[in-house]
């Protein structure tokens, strides 16, 4: 393990070695290392192969932002090795190479791919013949991708936590500007959160000799109450929400103000073979040495367009790297750092830039020359540290509504307009050097706090002062590309070359957005951090447009790639359960989703359950029914206006069936209305319709201004339907109430104790048999169920689930709204014209539309049918008209043992809606013949139900 001498700011703890494996071989690093720094110290320079050409790739950024060092860690692909801390025992493997990182079969695409790898090849080739696409797809899917997810996963890999955090000020970025902003805002009394992607805040200070200041500012921030989130990336801005991913925690930060201090991203240079391992950003090289004690190379050339590269060259010299030359694109290299370099014996070459990297598996030499040719020099080296200027990290600000413009002086885009509530500091605001960045942070913090009413006494003074000190940087604009020969990559993530972009432009994809979609430039894991500016520059060069016109692609989340598992949240589903749910489980019910409820589908034998209802009695939990209490002096008036039949004349203790209609008279829900007393009605709805009905009632109530209130008590009441020929025997064992025919007739309601529980009994019957629906406080639901089940045990009573209920109600031709009705079903279509009372004095919802159709035969009508040959048509099967074309639809169908036939309901053309009419049903090509039966299959006269 080769390391530089220890330095004060380094991040590694040399007293704590750790071991892990890379491609099966042991590697030793230190606590504090990244995977890449440990591998570098171990002498490795290649960590993965590139996406398309399978070229060996080494480190680029040194800070977890590039996609050059994607590896698989413990079975999770796509991990950025240069940002991922090394952990003892971890298993790291390369990606995208087979059979090994050194010898990759697919690297043939680099040498022999030729026309098969040019941009647009897939689009143009694999669209025909269309029938071969499944084959193409299989092959392409195998060849594509960056690693493989495990095919089987027994447990959730991500123990994700969501954490909502409200604050006054969110500071994105923990560099000097961000820290200063956070400190200032917090000291002025704001509640501040700061997030930073690195393991500790400080940004460039940490490796540029400012670590003491960084730690001082971080301490100040914490002392002022700032919540500092490290290794925490803001991945997007969504209106008032900024999601910040920190390990497996997703902080959903809602801040009143946001300060963007995300710093700047050093840019690469574009020239032939600019991807050779050994070519990296000068800042990355410097990080490796300063933070991890690793020499990024032995013999280096530094290529730069700004002073940052010169500073980095000096740092490399200081760490003992032999810097053989500095190629500065600026013809006149400014004094300062250049002079110091020369004093250190480094040759500084003005006006030159790299035009070609040399080397087979890694960098061996670089040729520098003037961008337009001439002055060529080849210099042997194993490290080329490049600095093509710094692009402020604007994506998050732009996602939040900021605007940017090209700044020729900086050779980069900069923010011009910020949305209300957003502030910028540091490089994002155009303050590049350390001192002015810190002052801009202090000012942004003060301005954000002031906008929240927490004023800083010298705010105006600081604004004036900072406004006058924005220094113009001395930056040369890098060429769109330089040199000839080799592959010159504009986008290392996606292996997009200069040639690709040129071809895209030549084919008409002249806008950056179109070119992006055609070539995939900027679409890789680094989200265009290192490719957006170079590709814009290249398109500008090819089209002759200026960079302001070319612009940037639309900024979209996620700014930092994030595992889907983090977004998935905790594995809980918001299920509604009836008060009797636990008992159903104990009884072995098959529980399924029904809307947002978990319901008992059956208890193992749906047919026996159906039979029990007909032969003895059954109990079913119908607690899921919607239930509303409508009360007040004008409650009856309200219901009269909502239902097409009369409600206000209902006597206390009586029940009426009702349907709810839209303005166009389409059925939206149905249920019963029971009058409890003069001013109180108890309304039931379908299970899935409760919420919508409550909203519907409340909305109209507000509009009409009637003196009534509507309260949803769906979840507060248990409801159990007990039905069957022996139901009265059952009830006699658990209640003193006389439930006989005379004392308790059909459609009556009574309150009484059942099994000791105060209940409301409704004499109604959805399943067709003699039945009572018993409602009680949910807290007594299980006790009521138990009482009924115990009382009925000797009588052959058994619980029945949803499936038997569906058969039973079909025998009676009772409709289920939403299943037997659709968005066009009026009461006339649903064969219930009797419910429409057009002679009612009140206006009611749907009246006008019903009046338009009064006396008309509806084009379709809901009828029952019986199948001749025992086949059960699928719900949704087509009813054919006389000419064999689709004319109607099967809405429900089941086999009924009671009827001893397949029965169902269907909407059929009016001319077929007659008893005995024959209909043909087409079910997936199968023809089923059926006979229309308009009367219920069971108890057509209603004698049982009313008995």
């Amino acid at each position: 393990m080769s390391r530089l001498a220890a330095t004060p700011g380094e991040r590694i703890d040399r007293s704590r070695p750790l071991g892990f494996s890379f491609d099966g071989k042991p590697v030793t690093g230190y606590e504090g290392d990244t995977i890449v720094s440990a591998l570098y110290a171990d002498g490795r320079r290649v960590f993965s192969r590139s996406f398309k050409y399978h070229r060996p790739r080494g480190e680029l950024c040194g800070c977890g932002q590039c996609a050059n060092s994607l590896v698989d860690v413990d079975g999770s692909p796509g991990v950025r090795a240069c940002g991922e801390p090394a952990r003892a025992g971890m298993t790291v493997t390369h990606l995208n190479a087979w059979p090994s990182l050194e010898h990759d079969v697919m690297s043939a695409t680099d040498r022999f791919g030729g026309r098969f790898t040019q941009v647009g090849f897939y689009y143009k080739t694999f669209i025909r013949p269309r029938r071969l696409w499944p084959v193409y797809e299989k092959v392409l899917r195998r060849a594509a991708g960056l690693g493989r997810l495990r095919e089987r996963q027994d447990e959730r890999e991500w123990e994700t936590e969501y954490r909502r955090r409200h604050c006054d000020v969110l500071v994105i970025g923990g560099g000097v500007a961000g820290l200063a902003a956070a400190v200032r805002a917090a000291e002025l009394g704001a509640d501040v959160v700061l997030c930073d992607e690195d393991v500790e805040p400080g940004g460039a200070l940490l490796f540029e000799g400012g670590q003491e200041r960084a730690r001082e500012l971080a301490d100040q921030a914490r002392a002022a109450g700032v919540e500092v989130l490290t290794r925490a990336a803001a991945i997007g801005t969504f209106d008032d929400l900024v999601p910040v991913v920190q390990g497996s925690v997703l902080h959903q930060v809602r801040a009143a103000r946001t300060i963007v201090a995300a710093g700047a991203i050093q840019q690469p240079l574009v020239f032939g073979d600019n991807d050779l391992p050994g070519i990296m950003l000068s800042g990355g090289a410097r990080r490796l040495g300063a933070l991890y004690g690793v020499a990024p190379g032995k013999a280096a050339v530094v290529a730069t367009v700004d002073d940052r590269g010169l500073d980095d060259a000096l740092a490399l010299v200081a760490m003992g790297v032999e810097v053989r030359a500095v190629a500065d694109l600026r013809p006149e290299v400014p004094g300062g750092p250049a002079a110091r370099l020369r004093e250190a014996g480094v040759e500084v070459l003005g006006g030159l830039t790299p035009v070609r990297g040399h080397g087979r598996r890694a960098l061996e030499a670089v040729t520098v020359a003037r961008p337009r040719g001439g002055g060529e020099r080849r210099i042997d080296c194993d490290l080329l540290a490049v600095s093509a200027g710094a692009a402020p990290a604007l994506s998050l600000a732009l996602q939040g509504g900021a605007r940017a413009a090209y700044d020729g002086a900086r050779a980069a885009f900069r923010l011009t307009d910020l949305p209300a509530g957003m502030f910028a500091a540091g490089a994002a605001a155009g303050f590049d050097d350390r001192e002015s960045a810190e002052r801009s942070g202090l000012l942004a913090g003060a301005e954000a706090a002031a906008s929240l009413g927490r004023h800083h006494p010298r705010l105006r003074e600081e604004q004036v002062r900072l406004g006058g000190e924005r220094p113009e940087p001395l930056v040369a604009t890098p060429p769109a590309w330089a040199g000839e020969g080799g592959k010159a990559f504009v986008d290392l993530d996606e292996d997009v070359t200069v040639k690709d972009v040129k071809q895209a432009v030549a084919e008409g994809f002249e806008s950056l957005e179109l070119s992006k979609r055609y070539t995939t430039v900027t679409m890789g894991p680094s989200q265009g951090r290192f490719s957006q500016l170079p590709s814009a520059r290249l398109i500008a060069a090819e089209t002759g447009l200026d960079l302001e016109t070319v612009g940037l692609t639309t900024a979209r989340p996620p700014w930092t790639s994030v595992p889907l598992g983090v977004l998935a949240g905790r594995p809980f589903e918001a299920a509604k359960r009836s008060p009797v749910h636990a008992r159903h489980r104990e009884l072995g019910a098959s529980v399924r989703w029904a809307g947002d409820w978990m319901r008992a589908y059956d208890y193992g034998d749906a047919e026996a359950e159906t039979r029990a209802v007909h032969e003895a009695a059954g109990i079913i939990d119908v607690s899921t029914l919607g239930k509303l209490i409508v009360r007040g002096p004008e409650a009856g008036e309200l219901l009269d206006r909502l239902y097409p039949n009369r409600i206000s004349n209902l006597a206390p203790g009586r029940i009426r069936y009702g349907v709810l209609l839209t303005d166009a008279a389409r059925i939206t829900d149905d249920g019963t209305i029971c009058r409890l007393d003069e001013e109180t009605f108890y309304v039931t709805t379908t299970s899935s319709g409760a919420g919508a009905v409550e909203q519907w009632f409340t909305w109209w109530l507000a509009d009409w201004g009637l003196d009534a209130t509507v309260t949803d008590v769906t979840q507060g009441l248990a409801a159990i339907n007990v039905a069957g020929p022996r139901v009265r025997e059952v009830l006699a064992r658990v209640t003193d109430l006389d439930v006989g025919k005379e004392a308790f007739p059909y459609l009556d309601a009574k309150q009484a104790k059942v099994g000791g529980v105060e209940c409301l009994l409704l004499r109604i019957g959805f399943v067709g048999e003699l039945g009572y629906e018993i409602h009680c406080a949910g807290a007594h639901g299980q006790a009521l169920w138990d009482a009924l089940a115990d009382a009925g045990a000797e009588l052959g009573v058994r619980p029945f689930g949803l499936e038997p209920q569906r058969v039973l109600r079909l025998e009676k031709q009772h409709i289920i709204v939403g299943q037997d009705t659709d968005s066009e079903s009026t009461p006339y279509v649903a064969a219930m014209p009797w419910i429409v009372k057009l002679d009612k004095e009140q206006e009611f919802i749907g009246r006008w539309a019903l009046e338009q159709r009064r006396g008309e035969a509806p084009p379709l009508e809901l009828v029952g049918f019986r199948c001749a040959d025992g086949k059960v048509p699928a719900e949704g099967s087509v009813v054919l008209g006389d000419d064999g074309t689709p004319a109607g639809e099967v809405t429900s169908a089941r086999f009924s043992a009671k009827v001893d036939a397949v029965i169902g309901m269907a909407r059929v053309p009016n001319e077929l809606a007659a008893d005995g009419a024959r209909i043909s049903i087409s079910d997936g090509g199968q023809r089923i013949e059926a006979v229309v039966t308009k009367e219920p299959f069971f108890d057509p006269e209603g004698e049982v139900l009313r008995g």
């Binding site: 359960r577 209130t709 105060e758 406080a777």
Partner: protein
């Protein structure tokens, strides 16, 4: 007839919390006012420590809850977002003409009430990590400056409609649809246990959930 069937009647079988599937597991139960209530989970000292040092959560679904509608001084102003102490409970304004009464408020002088005790489940969350626990499943802003003690907010609780009442500095009451009881218990337990908390019985809870009559200072 009246809507009396909504109410848990005295003398009937003990009422069962809608959270019982979760909250009664491993619990020592006792009957209070007709309800089976969790007295403890067998470690009263550990439960007290949890709510003092981290977070404890308790099933308080038996707390009386009612809707008050109509005009009247008890309704309060929903714009202020504050519950008003009434007796041993709170009147929590929902709209200018409706309030949710929580706890033993006594009978309001005017307006009509409807018993919602069975309709709404309730979980008390107490302790220094109470806010952090709530932040794991609820986006309501619980900072003291925004929601001081007695603050009351309707909102989304773990993706379901509900209410949040701040009963004290470190004491909150979640109120939600009873049918979500088992789900809500699971969600709260998941969030709280990651923060070092545990479910607690009524015994451990009592000192942490201040009676509304008590003076409560805000940390705003």
């Amino acid at each position: 007839m009246s809507a009396g069937f909504l109410t848990v009647a005295a003398g009937g079988p003990p009422a069962r919390s809608p959270l019982a599937e979760g909250s009664h597991r491993g619990a020592e139960l006792e009957e209070r006012d007709g309800w089976m209530v969790v007295a403890s989970y067998g470690d009263a000292e550990g439960e007290s420590r949890a709510r003092r040092e981290a977070v404890g959560w308790a099933d308080l679904s038996h707390l009386p809850k009612a809707e008050l509608s109509g005009a009247g001084t008890w309704i309060g102003s929903p714009a202020e977002g504050l519950a008003t102490p009434r007796g041993d409970g709170w009147s929590c304004p929902l709209t200018p003409r409706r309030a949710l009464l929580v706890g033993d408020t006594g009978a309001p002088p005017e307006g009509a009430t409807l018993d919602l005790t069975s309709s709404l489940g309730a979980i008390s969350i107490v302790g220094p990590e109470a806010r952090e626990t709530i932040a794991r499943f609820c986006a309501l802003d619980t900072r003291a400056a925004v929601m001081p003690p007695f603050g009351f907010r309707p909102g989304s609780i773990a993706r379901t409609p509900g209410y949040l009442l701040r009963a004290g500095e470190e004491a909150f009451l979640l109120i939600f649809g009873a049918a979500y009881g088992a789900y809500m218990w699971e969600v709260v337990a998941d969030a709280g246990s990651r923060l070092g908390g545990r479910p607690v019985g009524a015994a451990a809870l009592t000192p942490a959930l201040p009676a509304p009559r008590q003076e409560v200072t805000t940390d705003a």
